[in-house]
């Protein structure tokens, strides 16, 4: 026992020491950043270097990313080489980043959701000075992405592979029943009534339950959750849950159950439509033998206001070396440039991150033939992401989803649902 205690103490002191040096290191480099970025004006002093970029992109996405990166490597005037490292799926990437944050061996840049680094945001390089001094058109980037990347009180990244949640529906079924794409909560309810009556099916499902709740609250002019707890214990919150629970309790909406994914349910004619990520469209099959249908896509409905949840990661910087920081910034500028984001969006089905890109002739022509891109563009001004910059944010996502599942399974009334959800959220943060 004594031995263990001594070992523990030794370890604690070692780790304490490494903490101090880590903090000192990143603090110092942030200062260099400021100086370097301030000096950067017409002429930049960047030495040739190699930048490591960890990502979780596969298939055609990885292919497009590679093409863009090769272009940057060939064309940049500083001799910067960006090396792409595939780290598997998102959850693998998240685990790898956590492990490397603990070992203090993070890459120069990486793809990340904001909730990956809640615990090590001090290792993320603040990009404020870079943006201020060396990014001519920051305002051209969609507002929701700028907000998302500033939620920690500093600019932590630049938007990269962005998607949004849209309503995918069986247009053939809608046409047959004389239904149109929904625009309001009332439309949604009407569609639910008709499809249930005529087809015996639910009209709608949601891939992400916690995001569904937050979007509904925002659409109804309410707030969701912050570091102090649940903010929806209000009359408006109750009204929102009345709407949600009524949809489910009446059978207009349903949980995914044993179908695995709503895209499968839609493909098999087992549901009228569902709200899912715009990148998921490639997983909808419209021509299964005997079940062929035409796919419809529209923005998610609004109520008092519009609100649509975004998904997708940003590129964040961990580089400690001042020169690498500057080099990485060149790459981040390149990746978020109008040309790059248009190519990226057209190659992969992710969304452009700039207003000017949406309005370019090239992308407009592309949208003509892509109903998903059109719908995404329509709701682009209303995008939001769930706040991730406080401890417990990730846990709340899980708790809200599972609690909602349970409430819906139990056919709870709105008041019970509200009380249970508020308690569940506050329980995480207490």
């Amino acid at each position: 026992m004594k031995m263990k205690r001594i070992m523990a103490l030794v370890m604690a002191s070692i780790m304490g020491a490494s903490l101090l040096t880590a903090c000192g290191g990143s603090g110092g480099s942030t200062e260099t950043t400021t100086a370097a970025a301030a000096a950067a004006g017409s002429e930049k002093d960047i030495q040739p270097t190699t930048i490591t970029f960890w990502h979780g992109m596969n298939n055609k996405q990885e292919q497009s990313l590679t093409e863009l990166t090769e272009k940057f490597n060939a064309e940049n005037e500083y001799g910067i080489t960006v090396e792409l490292v595939n780290q598997g799926s998102y959850s693998d990437l998240q685990t790898k980043l956590m492990a490397n944050a603990a070992a203090d061996t993070l890459p120069d840049i990486a793809q990340a959701y904001n909730n990956y680094f809640t615990d090590y945001v001090d290792k993320v390089v603040a990009l404020d000075d870079f943006v201020k001094n060396d990014y001519p058109d920051w305002d051209d980037i969609l507002e929701s992405y700028r907000t998302e990347n500033s939620e920690y009180g500093k600019i932590t990244g630049v938007p990269f592979n962005k998607s949004t949640y849209l309503f995918f529906y069986n247009k053939t079924m809608f046409d047959e029943l004389g239904l149109e794409a929904p625009k309001t909560w009332d439309d949604l309810q009407h569609i639910g009534e008709v499809i249930l009556e005529k087809k015996g099916l639910a009209a709608i499902g949601y891939d992400s339950m916690c995001d569904m709740l937050e979007a509904a609250l925002r659409q109804h002019g309410e707030q969701y959750v912050d570091e102090t707890g649940a903010l929806f214990n209000t009359d408006g919150g109750l009204e929102t849950l009345e709407f949600i629970m009524n949809m489910y309790n009446s059978g207009y909406a349903r949980l995914v159950g044993e179908d695995n994914y709503f895209s499968d349910s839609l493909s098999n004619g087992m549901i009228g439509g569902y709200v899912g990520s715009s990148t998921g469209v490639s997983y909808i099959s419209t021509d299964i033998e005997g079940k062929e249908f035409e796919l419809g896509v529209c923005p998610v409905v609004g109520d008092k206001t519009n609100a649509a949840y975004n998904a997708g990661t940003n590129i964040v910087m961990f580089a400690k070396d001042a020169n690498n920081q500057k080099a990485a910034w060149e790459y981040m500028k390149f990746m978020t440039s109008k040309e790059s984001t248009i190519k990226w969006a057209m190659d992969t089905g992710y969304l452009p991150i700039r207003t000017s890109a949406y309005e370019s002739d090239e992308y407009k022509a592309f949208m003509e033939g892509d109903i998903t891109a059109q719908a995404a563009y329509e709701q682009a001004p209303y995008g939001f992401v769930s706040k991730a910059s406080f401890t417990g944010s990730n846990e709340i996502r899980n708790v809200v989803s599972t609690t909602l599942n349970e409430l819906i399974t139990d056919k709870a009334d709105a008041q019970t649902a509200l009380d249970t959800l508020v308690a569940a959220v506050n329980d995480v943060l207490k």
Binding site: K4, M7, A8, M11, A12, I14, M15, G16, S18, L19, A22, C23, S91, Q94, T95, M98, A101, A102, T118, D119, Y120, K123, G257, E258, N260, T391, G392, N394, E395, N398, T402, T403, N405, E406, T409
Partner: protein, 297 residues
């Protein structure tokens, strides 16, 4: 030559060194972490050394549920799996045609993709068109929502897990059976002793060390169940709200999704103690028997 010497350590040295670095050290560190309030894996900082994590752990209804589920799981999966695989291994080792083919077939699940196994079992247990309900339908039972009704979550998980653990047990039992000296059976054959009697009087005692191994390893592995839950419920811990959550699932979630490293560590220590307790209880009959035998000699 004196056998009671330090020579044993020379044989153990490679294993000891590796285990010291890659198992003992992280284990001690995990135990330490479990006593650190608000421990951060990122920089090793913590608020204080106390029992907060354990308090939070036992205040968490989800952990209590995980404890109950895991214990239930162990209690059913281990004995069922050992008994069934013992029977199958014996059949596979008896004089049958196509012995090699059969043995290979029973080995295949062990190498089948985990994803495929999950997909297939979700199909078998589907409430609308699943194979299981189809078969039960002949007996006028069902349809049962194996994967959709929270009531059946643990039953489904146990059935799935027994299936999944068979291949491993069959393999080691076969190895043990093939190592039993035919001479042992020769006497029985001369007496034309009934097969069942041969099984219990000769086969089982000869295999006892391996059966004990299967039990102990079964208990240890069953207590650490995680992948089975994940693949059966399609990356969740149950159909609605964590009905089939297990201790390691809980630990994993706390560590990698909720970033509560200290609580995860405390959960691991509790699991550690629990397994220790169970393996000790399990070995008790063996010890008593050994003592009796020693006394008889």
């Amino acid at each position: 030559m004196n056998r009671r010497s330090f020579k044993g350590y020379a044989y153990l040295a490679p294993v000891l060194v590796i285990m010291l670095v890659f198992t003992a050290y992280p284990l001690v560190k995990a135990i330490f972490m479990s006593f650190c309030e608000n421990y951060s894996i990122i920089n090793g900082s913590y608020k204080g050394i106390n029992l907060e994590n354990y308090k939070d752990l036992f205040d968490d209804k989800l952990f209590i549920r995980a404890l109950g589920n895991t214990t239930l799981y162990v209690a059913f999966v281990v004995p069922l799996s050992v008994v069934i695989s013992l029977i199958i291994a014996n059949l596979l080792n008896s004089h049958i045609k196509f012995q090699g083919l059969f043995q290979t077939l029973y080995f295949l699940p062990y190498v089948t993709s985990v994803i495929a196994i999950g997909v297939v079992w979700r199909w078998i247990m589907n409430s609308n068109y699943g194979l299981l309900n189809y078969i039960l339908g002949f007996f006028g039972i069902g349809p049962i929502g194996w994967l959709s009704d929270p009531k059946y979550s643990m039953t489904s998980l146990i059935i799935f897990a027994v299936w999944k653990s068979l291949a491993f047990n069959i393999m080691i039992f076969l190895a043990a059976l093939q190592g039993i000296s035919p001479d042992l059976y020769a006497a029985a054959r001369v007496d034309s002793t009934p097969r069942l009697r041969v099984f219990f009087k000769i086969t089982v005692p000869a295999m006892m060390p391996i059966i004990a191994y299967a039990f102990i390893m079964g208990i240890i592995n069953a207590f650490k169940v995680y992948n089975e839950v994940f693949s059966l419920f399609n990356s969740k811990a149950g159909p609605v709200n964590n009905e089939a959550i297990t201790i390691v699932y809980y630990i994993y979630d706390q560590f990698y999704n909720n970033y509560k490293y200290g609580i995860a560590a405390a959960g691991s220590v509790v699991l550690f103690l629990l397994i220790m307790l169970f393996t000790m209880i399990q070995r008790l009959p063996g010890r008593i028997k050994a003592k009796k035998e020693a006394a008889q000699k």
